[in-house]
Amino acid sequence: MRIVAVTACPTGIAHTYMAAARLEKIAKHFGHEIKVETQGAMGIENKLTESDIRQAQIAIFAVDIEVEGRERFNGVKVIQVALQEALKNPEGIFRKIQV
């Protein structure tokens, strides 16, 4: 499965990047292809392009704050979880997707 994801936390120093790393690792484990955009203190990095989003079957938002450029994801199935969920139980997120 092709997945896009966005991570964003309140201070944007640590958890945004930890969650991104975690999602990347677990996705690989499940055999998915994933690209994670981080919205942290450095601004948007690894930005999802229009074609990234178009080609994805699902978008995961692991965020504690509003996603910047949410309208980019119109037409894509989005599941949104608290950022902590991506640290606590990332497997659970991917299992939910597979159902």
């Binding site: 309140p10 201070t11 640590a14 990047y17 930890m18 790393a21 942290g40 203190a41 450095m42 902590q84």
Partner: protein, 847 residues
Amino acid sequence: MSPELSSTSLQFAFVCPLSAGMHARPASQFAGVANNFVSECVLTNLRNRRDANAKSVLSVISADIRHGDRCLVQVSGMDEQPAHTALRRFVEEALPSCDVPLAGSSTQTRNSVPRVLQAAGVSCYFGSSASPGIAHGKVVVVSAMSLPKGLTTETVTDPDEELKRIKLAIAAVRERIREKLTHSSSPLGEAVLQADLAMANDVLLDEKLAEQVSKGKSAGHAVLETGEFFIDLLRHSESEYVRERASDVEEISVQLLDEIYGVDLQKTVLPLEEPSIVVAETLGPQQLLALDRRWLKAIVLEYSGASSHALILARSHGIPTVVGVKNARLTLLPGLEVLVDANRGLVVPQFPAAVQRFYEREQKTLERQQEFLADDPGAPAITRDGKTLEVAANASSAEELRLAFENGADAIGLFRTEMNFLERDRPPSEEEQFAIYAQAARLSAGRPVIIRTLDVGGDKTAEYLNLPSEDNPFLGYRGVRIYGDHRELLQTQLQAILRASAHGRIQIMVPMISSLEEVLQCKAEIAKAKEHLQLQKIPFQPDIPIGIMVEVPSAAFILDQLCAEVDFFSIGTNDLAQYFLAVDRDNPKVAGLSNVLHPGFLRFLKRIVDEIHAAGKWVGMCGEMASDARYLPLLLGLGLDEISVSAVKIPELKRAVPQLSTADCKSLFTRVIARREIGEIDRLLASAQRLPSAQPLLNEELILLDSDSRNKEEAMQELVDSVYIAGRTQDRQQLEEALWAREAVYSTGLGFGFATPHCKTDAVTANSVGVLRFREPIDWGSVDSEPVRMIIFIAMREPQIANGHMQVFSTLARKLMNEDFREQLLAIEDSHNMMRYLGEELNISVC
């Protein structure tokens, strides 16, 4: 109407409608009504069954009537009917509106308490720090009420005579209050005076005084004992409002004692016999000097100003002092064991194990921070752009001088001499003074020592000088102004200073100069002293530099003329601000206005420095303003040649100078003086003064691999302390709060036994990464509920998000998700290897 109100006899009940209870003002009005009648009036608090004589304010207050208490009023006597009606009408109509809160009583700033202390559940008393340090001891309350020296055992020959003295005193005090009442312009001030008046009229007070006299006590003794009786009674009340009334009783008692013995009551010397915390409303410099310094561990004052002479003395003697502690004398009872944390402005009255542990760790933190600061104390303080600022010390004794040089002082910018003149019967001899000044010169080992000639007057007096008692001593006979009448004294001092100048680099400075004539007269006296020494063939430095204090505004407007006559200047900001802003710094009502950040004052300073420099002369600053690291960017912006501060401040200031550039500071100063309000200036300064430093992300002080912290609070405190020891924060409280604010969103415990507390805050001077590894795992509220073995913390400066450090932080965050990385972090044995490993993994240079 409640059933009790349908009275069968001459009584009625009511429920106290006052949110603050029956405090002095309503009580005085109540008693006022009752006193219009001859009938006996009894007020009973039905909650605690206390009966009060309704005609006595003290008695009514002592019944401790609080909001919602049911009370009964019973009236009996000749005029019981009209008395009953009048009291009932008062209770129903006037009483509910007796409760206007006193203005200006709730301006207390709430300090925040470290989390470890909060978690320990101790309730602290708050004030603000006037002299840093931490000390522990038993409370000794300095009462304003005391008998004159030697009169503690007065013999009474005629009790009637004593009673008469008391009656006269009471009449005079009443008269004085009435007099004040006619001039009172605010209704609240009036209400307070009315309450005082009622207290002075109180029948219970009369009775108690008469009782004491009948026991053979003198008038003064009777007042003292009666005052103490009521103060004790009120102080033990459960209501804060009632406890506060104890100070009213004290006030009246002091006034009565003043009447009986005359106003210039000589305060008795308070003997201290064990480690003591002296608690007082306020302290004069004489009172402070009279205290036994072996046992004086700390001072707690109710008074809230920060620059009185007593406080300057406390600082120079290194006595921890907290000021502005509301009702300190009422809450800190004599004999109570307390800890004074004058660094944080706290008084801690309880010592559970967690608090003791906190302060043991705090002690180590402060010691390590001092060691870190004292790395190379003697090195000059040079700004990033190469300007040297001389950081000198204020001192008044050999001990202070030694401490100053240990701490890295470049010079002695102010050597005060008056301390040797106070607290004695005659002035020190020339020999005695020479010994002191010559020792100062020798201890300074070639570094300059600016000796200030005698500066007495104001609140510093010595009996043999016969200085008159003045209504307004700060505008009176002080400093250079007394020299004309005490030429011999001045000659003695000048000769002693000149003789000492043969032993080191001594300079002479004259205080309180307001005119050119004063300078010329002093120079003539110096010339005379030189001539005398020459005749005696006694060596001295012939071209000894002569300077003046700039502390009277008029001097600042004749600087062109003064520059032609003297070699150097030192700005005394305490007096200069007081005179310039028309604020009595010892008057708590206006002391808040004495703000050196007033844009007018800053412009004034700029004008002074520029004009002196234009004439090619040297100018320093020796007032309190120079001691505050917050103001350092402004002082560099002003272009001062030197700052002279208390010895303990030197390491901090010397370390701060190299972090700053004069160009930045000059532009900051220009922006600051263009601001219209002090608040804006404060904010601008707060953001600018934490200018970023060039420190690397990581240094060894930030890596602690054997932490004995036992819980999250202690761990957070420890990491904050490590940042402090590394010289990366001056505001531990703000850093701690920023970290906890992030934890409040959700725990930074990321699982796997790791946590990453982090924050963005200006409280750090440099972006920092640190490590804490625990001996025993700690609960962190982690996502996987596992205790934490190690924390990696990140503290980032707010405006610097866009630099390369953020890249490092995100790399670090990502790596923490990697098991191998975590295993390595747990396995590395020492901090040096930890530094190297992190440096490699994060691709950063470590020092």
